[in-house]
């Protein structure tokens, strides 16, 4: 009986991996030869919405000035703009930098938080209460938006069905080391192919929490951001879709970000993402399937996106399962030529699906030499398997141990205060 369960589990893992591989191929083919939907960036409209730009900051003295100055350089009617840097329990010079800039620019209206829970969801909730605009644009403290970014993001809210918009994140510190270059490749695949294909196919592009925006009234109607959630962006994405709203993706609204330069910082970041994302999975799984507003395709894509941080967990346990079966002498799982062919085909093509996707993204970006680094992503993915599994275990605790509270883990910055 135990052997049978172990064998069935191996098959389940193979099926799950095959589904995700097919998904990667679907998106890649769409980007290569499929119909590409336009984003609203090409609209020129003299009637723009009033916007509040929120920038949560906790000990961001290394990046705060650059980020705020980049936002100030953005072209948007000043009478329709306010910038709210949120000083979230900072202990360094962040508050002084914000105040210095606020004294020089009327559009900057700082919010200093010294009480209550620290973390992005809590900071955003406080800012939503003081924001004057209906449309909220969010940048992380290390982000450097281009001059047209605010307009290009805000214009999407002319569409009455759009609840949130997401732009493209581009790593700025790619030259630092191999890790930053691998993260650059991963980001390319995730945005240039994955997000854009989901936009093209009427699926579920994800609001990523930065270089994006949402409707203030909607966020407040959901009770604000859930402070137990470490992936407030994913949480908002699912709340919007489940309630009949859409998220649109703006591939040409590009914004530089700083990616982690050490494996330790990256591990902590992705563990936090896994923990938050998996918590959201527990929270919205049933509601997603029951939503009357979503098509079958949206539900399927939403389900696959919702469980994406579960895949490494399945993979790790599947490998352990295979090892156990091997030592039990039970590796003859299914006696079928068809299944053998399926597994062989998967080994030939399925395993490489994410690599094809990332390669395609680099091709579309017109930067082909970096594709040479693709094989090194294998080590990166292997490292992620354990980190994400760790995050999943923490999410289980967050979900089922009521007294446990997730603490926001700030990502370390590597940039100095040199001019952009």
């Amino acid at each position: 009986m135990v052997v049978l369960i172990l064998k069935l589990y191996v098959l389940l893992v193979v099926v799950i991996m095959a589904i995700y591989a097919a998904r990667h191929y679907r998106f890649t083919v769409n980007r290569l030869v499929g119909d590409q939907r336009l984003y609203y960036q090409d609209l020129i409209d003299s009637e723009l919405p009033r916007i509040s730009v929120l920038v949560p900051m906790h000990d961001e003295e290394k990046v705060a000035r650059q980020s705020l100055e980049a936002i100030l350089r953005c072209e948007y009617p000043r009478e329709l703009l306010e910038i709210i840097p949120i000083n979230d329990h900072s202990t360094d010079r962040t508050a002084a930098i914000i105040e210095e800039l606020a004294a020089r620019h009327d559009v900057i209206r700082p919010l200093h938080r010294h009480e209550g829970q620290r973390g992005k969801p809590a900071a955003l909730n406080d800012a939503l209460l003081v924001a004057a605009a209906d449309v909220i644009i969010v940048f992380d403290a290390d982000y450097l938006p281009a001059r047209g970014s605010l307009r290009d993001l805000a214009i999407s809210f002319k569409d009455p069905e759009v609840g949130a918009v997401m732009g493209r994140v581009v790593p700025v510190n790619t030259r630092a080391n191999l890790l930053t270059r691998l993260l650059d490749l991963e980001r390319s695949g995730g945005y240039q192919v994955d997000q854009q294909a989901r936009h093209n196919l009427h699926l579920m592009p994800q609001y990523g929490g930065t270089v994006g925006g949402f409707r203030r009234d909607l966020a407040l109607s959901f009770g604000g951001f859930d402070q137990r959630v470490l992936a407030e962006d994913t949480d908002l994405t699912y709340r919007l879709f489940i309630n009949g709203w859409k998220v649109v993706y703006a591939n040409r609204v590009e914004c530089f970000e700083e990616v982690p330069e050490t494996w330790e910082v990256r591990s902590r970041q992705i563990r936090r993402w896994s923990r938050g994302h998996n918590y959201v999975m527990f929270k919205h799984f049933g509601a997603l399937l029951r939503s009357p507003y979503l098509t079958r395709a949206e539900k399927l894509d939403g389900l696959l996106l919702l469980t994406i941080y579960l895949v490494p967990v399945f993979l790790l346990t599947g490998i352990m399962d295979s090892v156990a079966l091997f030592f039990m002498g039970e590796m003859q799982i299914v006696d079928s030529v068809l299944v053998f062919l399926f597994v062989a085909t998967y080994n030939s093509f399925g395993n490489f699906a994410p690599f094809y996707q990332i390669g395609t993204a680099s091709l579309l970006d017109g930067v082909t030499h970096r594709i040479r680094l693709l094989p090194f992503l294998m080590f990166y993915f292997l490292a992620n398997i354990w980190t994400i599994t760790h995050g999943f275990i923490q999410a289980l605790g967050d979900r089922f141990l009521r007294r446990r509270r997730a603490e926001w883990d700030k990502t370390r910055r590597f940039r100095g205060e040199a001019p952009v």
Binding site: R37, L38, Y40, Q41, D42, L43, I44, D45, S46, E47, A70, E75, L144, A146, R147, G148, R151, D152, K158, D159, P160, E161, V170, P171, V172, N173, T174, R175, L178, R181, D184, S188, G244, E254, C255, F256, Y293, D365, V367, T368, H369, R370, R372, L373, L374, P375, F376, V420
Partner: protein, 377 residues
């Protein structure tokens, strides 16, 4: 060499056959491990080379100064030429300047290019300029006063600081940018971008990709004539007879037809087709998953975001933007936007304009843009 390698590969087999397996095994194992190791390492070699001598380590290029500007090409070309010729008030003649590459610029006080002439240098006219019929210029032309382009002329691009009049069948490969009003003759191809700070009037058969004007408007071809004045202001009628069509829901799952007197208390999302009947006024923005049809005389006061085709009937009007992932067809007398506002018409696959159409702002298509007066007449 090949023969020697083949011999090495056969060696273990021969050795086993000769009963010396014990000595041959290490060699075979080493060879096997070597090949295995090589195959493992092989995919990483290009990457190792990239790490050792990086050729592509810089961030993806993001233009931090990018702002949507429908006149970007014209402004950039003027600025580039002005920088290259800074302080050059010398007599007319040929100069060599460094733009994006070394280029020849011919400077004229007044430029009259004769019919059928072929020019290969950039042309700068400090005064008025005319281009004769069927003349060809494969470099940019910049006129600091008005310009008249003869029938059948072929230009790479034209920047003009006064009024511009393009004749019949002109071919512009890249862009047209006019600081003033522009009249474009029939059957003219406008290239990737045509913009005017004043009105941009297009005759029958004009093809385009992007248009910018205050407004962009169409007429039938009436032969040589004075450039017409601005069109009569488009007055928005008062919104009356408000009645809620749906019970507080903005979502309509099937096709919907809106008749006169019906309106909405919130923006409307229609999962099927939306038809706005003659005399009806919709005073909210609409999102339509099917097609949108405004029957003759219908009025939409908000924006239209449409997955399918948009047909704006004769004399119908949209005060806001029209955005379609498919095509947009503006019938005779249709209006988009209003004086004092800037609005857009975007049709991914096709935009077709009939006679007497005015769009206050921007028109864009990734496919074919054309003016078809006669079909509508």
């Amino acid at each position: 060499m090949t023969r020697r390698l083949a011999g090495l590969a056969l060696l273990p087999v021969s050795a086993v056959a000769a009963g010396t397996a014990a000595q041959a095994f290490p060699f075979a194992a080493v060879l096997l491990l070597g090949v295995f190791g090589l195959l493992i390492v092989l995919p990483f070699i290009p990457g190792l080379a990239e790490i050792w001598r990086p050729r592509d380590r810089y961030p993806l290029p993001v233009d931090m100064n990018y702002v949507k500007d429908p006149r970007y090409l014209g402004h950039a070309a003027r600025a580039l030429l002005a920088a290259a010729l800074r302080g050059d008030d010398g007599p007319p003649g040929r100069r060599t300047v460094n733009l994006s590459k070394v280029e020849a610029v011919e400077v004229h006080d007044r430029l009259d290019i004769s019919a059928g002439a072929q020019l290969t240098a950039i042309q700068l006219a400090r005064g008025p300029m005319s281009v004769g019929d069927r003349a060809v210029c494969d470099r940019d032309i910049y006129a600091r006063a008005g310009a008249r382009i003869g029938d059948g002329a072929a230009l790479r691009s034209l920047a003009c600081d006064g009024r511009a009049a393009l004749g019949r069948g002109v071919r512009i490969t890249r862009w047209l940018d006019v600081e003033g009003d522009a009249y474009v003759g029939p059957q003219t191809a406008l290239g990737a971008n045509a913009a005017a700070s004043g009105f941009l009037e297009l005759a029958d058969g004009v093809t385009f990709e992007r248009l910018w004007g205050a407004p962009v408007r169409t007429t039938g071809y009436l032969g040589p004539r004075e450039l017409p004045g601005a069109p009569a202001p488009f007055a928005l009628p008062d919104v009356q007879e408000i009645r809620v069509v749906e019970d507080l829901a903005s979502l309509h799952r099937g096709d919907l037809t809106v008749g006169p007197g019906e309106t909405f208390d919130r923006p409307l999302v229609v999962k099927g087709d939306l038809r706005i009947r003659t005399g009806a006024i919709v005073d909210r923005t609409v999102k339509v998953y099917g097609g949108l049809t405004l029957e003759p005389g219908a009025l939409l006061l908000g924006d239209a975001f449409v997955e399918g085709a948009v047909v704006v009937g004769e004399g119908a009007a949209v005060r806001g933007c029209v955005f379609s992932q498919d095509s947009v067809e503006l019938g005779r007398g249709a209006r988009v936007g209003a004086p004092g506002l800037v609005k857009s018409v975007v049709g991914k696959r096709r935009v077709t304009l009939a006679c007497d159409v005015a769009v206050h702002g921007y028109v864009l298509t990734d496919g074919l843009g054309s003016v078809r007066c006669r079909d509508s007449d």
